[in-house]
Amino acid sequence: MTWLPVRAESGSERDGVFGLMPDVDELLCDILSVADQISDPWLLECCHFRQSQLMSARAALAGVDASLLADLENWHASAFFSNRERAALSYAEQYHLDHDVISDEQKDQLSRYLAPREFVNFVWALHAYEAYARVLALLDIAPDPNPAAKPRHRRSGAAEDGRTSGTDATAEGGMWSLLDPAFGNVYRTLAQAVVRQKLIDEVTSEAIRLHNASHQGCQY
């Protein structure tokens, strides 16, 4: 169970913990919902489960089909996954381990299956779930007692190894022009909600922000 002194009134530790900050929790749920909408939700879900395995985010893994989890543990060799899915899993694993050293080969492999707009939206969606799993793991939130069956999404036709084609494959523009506006909107709303929280003093918040930037290789 979580190490936070929180009572899970409904039996769900997740709800008990995030219920301490209900306005932000609602936005967190929104951003995950939009993440599902801007990418292939089955592909995203598989990557989320694999990342959750790597960080022992047990709340994220509750209810997941045992066979799928076994295949994800061994995705390199599993015949269950297509080349497209393997490219995404490879990228997702490296994104979790160190997002700053994703190899050109890993990027190229995924680019064969995701056009630029799809690629950008996939990475942001992947990040939304990956960081969420980090929070679940950090606080050691227990699985819900009656978790919903997962995966929630069905494998789409895109699971096949179709290569990128069409106008979207040649989409141009920077990251922000390719990112779905719905995601940008909910992201900005979440930003507003987070910076309005004042239980943590500003100096500590700023120290964390700088520590994060230094660690992440971010110069912005």
Partner: protein, 101 residues
Amino acid sequence: MDDVRAYEASDSLSGAQKVALRLHDAFLVHPGHVSPALRAEALAHFTAPQLVELALKFYFWSSNRPTVALGTLAADAPHDPNRLTSFHYDDEGRYIVHSST
């Protein structure tokens, strides 16, 4: 910035701030392995709502990772490639860059 990079040796940061940064290190490196000692330190310095706020700030600050991962696609060059940019978010969540002059 030096205080933050070498926070354990800092004379400026408080005990609580160092614990917050240790938790942040755990979030960044091994989120599933927060030691019992660090958990106890965190609970000694922060309330449960404060710890949830910290975790959600970790979540939000980490959103520079997709930008870094996407590299050239990001098309958002550093304001100054030789140093971190000083900025803050105002109460509306707007990104306010501090003048470097």
